[in-house]
């Protein structure tokens, strides 16, 4: 096979004035602007592009387009690039894949000799013994993994996505697709036309026929003059529910690949047809190509595919290839006509090139010397988009391909997928399809507009669903050419021959799916585009059935592969911060991630922060604390329904702690709720529970108690929340608070007041304390949060005021024995396990989880208890298990643990079996190191100040 660049072709797409230099396996090459990588290499006389997966056979051009299984190369850090499609760029570093040490000399080609042993599925039948050797075998097998190399330093570059909502999307820009787009657009539809190729025109692009070229010029001019949005080098990769389409755009000016998500009102599938290889001995030898490959090479890139050709033709494409070959001076050694019974039985030559073709033609069996064999054996209908829409295409033996059966009525097929016609016939069918698509899209649009509150009102009734009155395309007879009288490769990517498939069927893997899985046929990078029908045919042959009886396999998305980068797009990861964040960042904060929030964990020394709070006064930014504003006369009823305790008699200005349980009695959330006014309450939730509790509240109000008058508004981020804690907190607050009496009697523990703080009106102050200290929880309108924080810092400098973070707060809450929902409780912890039995008021008429909580009294439930290790210097890990003595029987676990700087000892909370929950019980704790230590359950949850004198102060 000797390929070479020819003189200027009238249809060529290369710019011979623009020379591009690149490297191929380290050697310098050049091509022209408009070349694909493969055409440039072919023009330079290269004819081996890759090695096959299993036998490492040399492989050359087969189809010279995106689907060519033999043209996968590495370009820089980009593996598995389709050299038949990717346009050449200056400076490209192109390398062959799957060959070692080089493309020309590949050691693993020795596998070819073992072919008879390496039948499909051979690995299932060996390497079982000795078992200990399997990991070694596995490592060796893994070296056969095909494909390119990834570079772990490849950055995730710019890949932003786009949404669009066109009336009509046309997938495929051949004459039928373009005609559909133009007709739909003329009918008033917004249209997106998606061309898989670099330019619209489909097969007209590489036709040397004058009428085809005239039509192409006309269609392109009409598109330019229309409102149709055209995407080239783009593919509709998937059709999902309700015509949600994935489209990958490979030539966006600034994105590496852009994923476009389109909600099409109607989809026109016009992908054309894919050339199907013919199965015979030696059909994968370099020099065996499809007529499309020959015509693309000649007409698009001016490359002569060979010097002396045999053409096997069963259709007009094969005939056209003969004419094109003759025009560039390829000697036609023979034309074997598949329509009249001619066939090819094998090729002969070295593994590297075709030297002769064994044919059965009109002269009987003969050997014809040739360096090129062009095989026009028929087509595969790429019905992927129809399959994804739920259609089960039907096989027509007289036309030797599948046709749509009953796709949903918002998916319309045209072009070769729908049938055969001359160019005018294809254009007419395309245009009729476009008009139908536009009419149906108008009905969808009417419905969407009439159902969507914000949309423009629509006049009149919804248009009727337009009937399909298109004159159907014909079906040209075509011989069924799946396998010649010899066996050959069915799947070039996977090195699966028809022999392998027949053997698999005989072993019992005789449904298509089983055979596919057993042999891996169609599982490779060309996704069955070339292989599926031949695979089905081989199975059918082995079973003695027809293709229709065997059926087809399901084409799964995507239609064409797309990069993880395009799918990921820009990674949206919302970050939440409080208005005080700039201060934290300026003050050496160590940040902790808490869901979307960034929160201060500490400012260098959490133990010192704790001591400062216990001795002086500290500030913590607790803005992420969930806050719901509740208004209306029925709020007390709502609170009673959602919390386990009672709420009907909470006075104005009072605050109460509440625990929420789900309907299965499991602890859901907890927090305090205060009554700010007659019909006005503020509920606080855990930070992580804020969103969930809001939905929970809305769910009850909207579905179970829609008659209640309550308005719920999340106000978590409306306020900057600052807890001022420590014995000197009252003194500090009195310096910044202008209009409230902070005296212990006027503003006692568990009350709430409205105040002006540091000049900011409408702040709320709560006398509550998670830390166990006298504390004031301030909720400041968020637009003044930083101001108030800084004012507190300034005002308290002589009091020793300092910030503290979550870690300090965690230590202090543990000293006080406050449990954290989700840490000290888990997904099965029922309300009573927290030890708050008295909180649960079973005499209320109804509340969430009531029955389970009532029955819980009779159950043996694990209990949350406070635990102190006997050795005060040992801090068991959070997760350390509580076990029975020296056994491995699990009796509980440590859920929280810290070293207490206040008590100078380790302290814990844990869950234990109920019979171990009494104060004074001795426990054995198994540390992660394996050491077992003694620990004791203490009487109260609080390790520190159990009477709560400090926080009431």
């Amino acid at each position: 096979m000797t390929m070479s660049r020819q003189g200027v072709q009238p249809t060529e797409v290369i710019d011979r004035a623009a020379k591009l230099r690149f490297r191929w396996n380290g050697k310098r090459f050049s091509g022209f602007e408009g070349d694909t990588i493969a055409s440039a290499l072919a023009a330079a006389g290269e004819h081996i592009f890759s090695r096959s997966m299993k036998y490492h056979r040399p492989r050359g051009i087969l189809t010279a387009d995106y689907w060519d299984p033999n043209l996968m190369v590495q370009v820089g850090d980009d593996p598995n690039v389709r050299a038949g499609h990717r346009l050449l760029e200056s400076g490209m570093d192109v390398r062959s894949q799957n060959a070692w040490p080089s493309l020309n000399r590949d050691i693993k080609a020795a596998n070819s000799l073992l072919g008879r042993f390496l039948t499909a599925g051979f690995y299932y039948k060996t390497f079982m013994r000795p078992q200990w050797l399997w990991p070694t075998y596995e490592r060796v097998l893994a070296t056969f993994a095909p494909g390119g190399k990834i570079d772990l330093d490849t950055p995730h570059a710019y890949h932003d996505k786009r949404y669009t909502h066109p009336d009509v999307v046309v997938a495929g820009a051949g004459p039928a697709g373009i005609s559909a787009a133009l007709a739909a657009s003329s009918a008033g539809a917004s249209v997106l036309l998606v061309s898989h190729e670099h330019a619209v025109g489909g097969h007209l692009r590489y036709s040397s026929d004058a009428a085809d070229q005239a039509a192409l010029t006309e269609l392109r001019a009409a598109l330019d003059a229309s409102d149709v949005e055209v995407l080239t080098d783009s593919t509709v990769t998937g059709r999902y529910e309700d015509n949600w389409l994935g489209i990958v755009q490979r030539n966006h000016p600034i994105a590496v690949e852009r994923l476009i998500k389109a909600r099409a009102k109607t989809l026109v599938a016009a992908p054309g047809l894919i050339e199907r290889p013919y199965v015979f001995e030696g059909n994968d030898r370099p020099g065996v190509i499809t007529p499309g490959a020959a015509r693309r090479l000649i007409n698009l890139w001016g490359v002569k595919p060979g010097e002396r050709a045999v053409v096997f033709s069963a259709n007009a494409d094969g005939d056209a290839a003969v004419a094109d070959l003759e025009r560039v001076g390829t000697e036609i050694a023979a034309v074997i006509d598949g329509r009249t019974g001619g066939s090819v039985s094998s090729t002969a030559g070295s593994s590297r090139a075709v030297e002769a073709v064994m044919v059965n033609g009109t002269n009987g069996a003969e050997r014809i010397d040739a360096d090129l064999l062009v095989v026009a054996a028929g087509w595969t209908a790429p019905t992927s988009l129809l399959n994804m829409a739920g259609d089960r295409p039907i096989y027509d033996p007289t036309a030797a391909r599948f046709f749509p059966s009953d796709p949903p009525s918002n998916v319309l097929a045209t072009g070769g997928l729908a049938g055969d016609a001359d160019l005018d016939g294809l254009r007419q069918h395309g245009a009729a399809t476009g008009r139908l698509a536009a009419a149906r899209a108008a009905a969808v649009r009417h419905r969407l507009q009439s159902r969507t509150a914000r949309a423009l009102p629509v006049d009149g009734d919804e248009p009727a669903w337009a009937p399909d009155e298109r004159a159907p395309l014909g079906r040209d007879p075509h011989p069924e050419l799946y396998r010649a009288d010899t066996h050959g490769m069915v799947d070039m990517s996977e090195d699966i021959s028809s022999k392998d498939l027949v053997a698999a069927a005989h072993e019992g893997y005789d449904s298509v799916e089983l055979a596919k899985r057993y042999t891996t046929a169609t599982m490779g990078p060309s996704q069955g585009k070339l292989e599926t029908v031949n695979t089905v045919a081989a199975i059918a042959e082995a079973r003695g059935e027809t293709i229709s009886e065997v059926g087809t396999t399901v084409w799964r998305p995507p239609y064409a592969p797309l990069t993880l980068g395009a799918l990921a797009g820009r990674m949206f990861e919302p970050v939440r911060v409080s208005s005080i964040q700039p201060w934290h960042e300026a003050n050496n904060v160590s940040v902790i991630q808490a869901g979307q929030w960034l929160r201060p964990d500490h400012y260098g020394d959490p133990a010192a922060e704790v001591r400062n709070v216990r001795d002086n006064v500290g500030l913590i930014d607790v803005t992420p604390l969930g806050k719901l504003d509740l208004r209306g006369p029925d709020v007390p009823k709502l609170l009673s329904l959602l919390y386990v305790n009672k709420w009907m008699k909470l006075g104005v200005g009072r605050v109460r702690y509440g625990m929420m349980c789900a309907e299965d009695g499991v602890v859901l959330d907890d927090g305090v709720t205060g009554r700010l006014g007659e019909d006005h309450y503020m509920m606080s939730t855990t930070s992580s529970g804020a969103g969930g509790v809001w939905e929970w509240v809305e769910n009850w109000l909207q579905t179970e108690r829609p008659d209640w008058q309550v308005h719920v508004t999340p106000v978590t981020t409306a306020y900057a929340s600052i807890n001022v804690a420590g014995p000197k907190s009252r003194e500090l607050m009195s310096r910044v608070c202008e209009d409230a009496d902070l005296d212990a009697e006027a503003f006692p523990y568990m009350t709430v007041r409205q105040a002006t703080v540091a000049g900011v009106e409408d702040c709320f102050m709560w006398r509550i304390g998670f830390t166990g200290e006298l504390s004031f929880e301030l909720h400041v309108p968020a637009g003044h949060g930083l101001h108030v924080w800084e004012a507190l810092m300034d005002a308290g400098s002589d009091l020793g005021v300092g910030p503290f973070g979550l870690e300090g707060q965690r230590i202090m809450r543990l000293e006080k024995g406050h449990f954290i929902v989700g840490q000290d409780t888990d997904g099965l912890t029922l309300g009573p396990s927290t030890g708050l039995w008295s909180l649960i008021k079973l005499d209320k008429d109804d509340f969430a989880g009531k029955p389970e909580l009532a029955w819980a009294a009779d159950r043996s439930l694990p209990m949350v208890v406070a635990i102190q290790p006997d050795d005060p210097d040992v801090v068991p890990e959070e997760a350390a298990q509580i076990v029975r003595g020296n056994t491995n029987e699990i009796l509980g676990r440590i859920t929280s643990s810290r070293y207490s700087p206040t008590l100078n000892r380790s302290i814990c909370l844990g869950q234990v079996e109920p019979d171990l929950a009494a104060g004074g019980t001795k426990l054995t704790v198994l540390l992660e190191s394996g050491e077992r230590i003694g620990a004791t359950v203490i009487d109260h949850h609080a390790h520190f100040d159990p009477a709560g004198e400090r926080l009431r102060g």
């Binding site: 949600w244 969507t452 309907e663 009531k850 389970e852």
Partner: protein, 90 residues
Amino acid sequence: MLLVPCPNCGPRNSTDLRYGGESHARPDPNTASPAEWRAYLYLRDNPAGWLRENWYCASGCRRWFSVERNTATNEFRDPPLPGDKRGGAA
């Protein structure tokens, strides 16, 4: 991407909503037997066909609504009915 017919916002992408599961009535908490209550919590019809279920229009109107969907085909029975019983709360 499924289009879910929110009765307020119109058809919206399913990722804009939260699924609330099968619709079923909450038993009277004061009279329900353990079997009835736990059937409410845990047991589901889970049909392969028409199912009345709840959705929450989380990114849109923030309203819960109930609608019939065919779980085999993901087709919605239109138009949806607003307001119904809550899904399992466990």
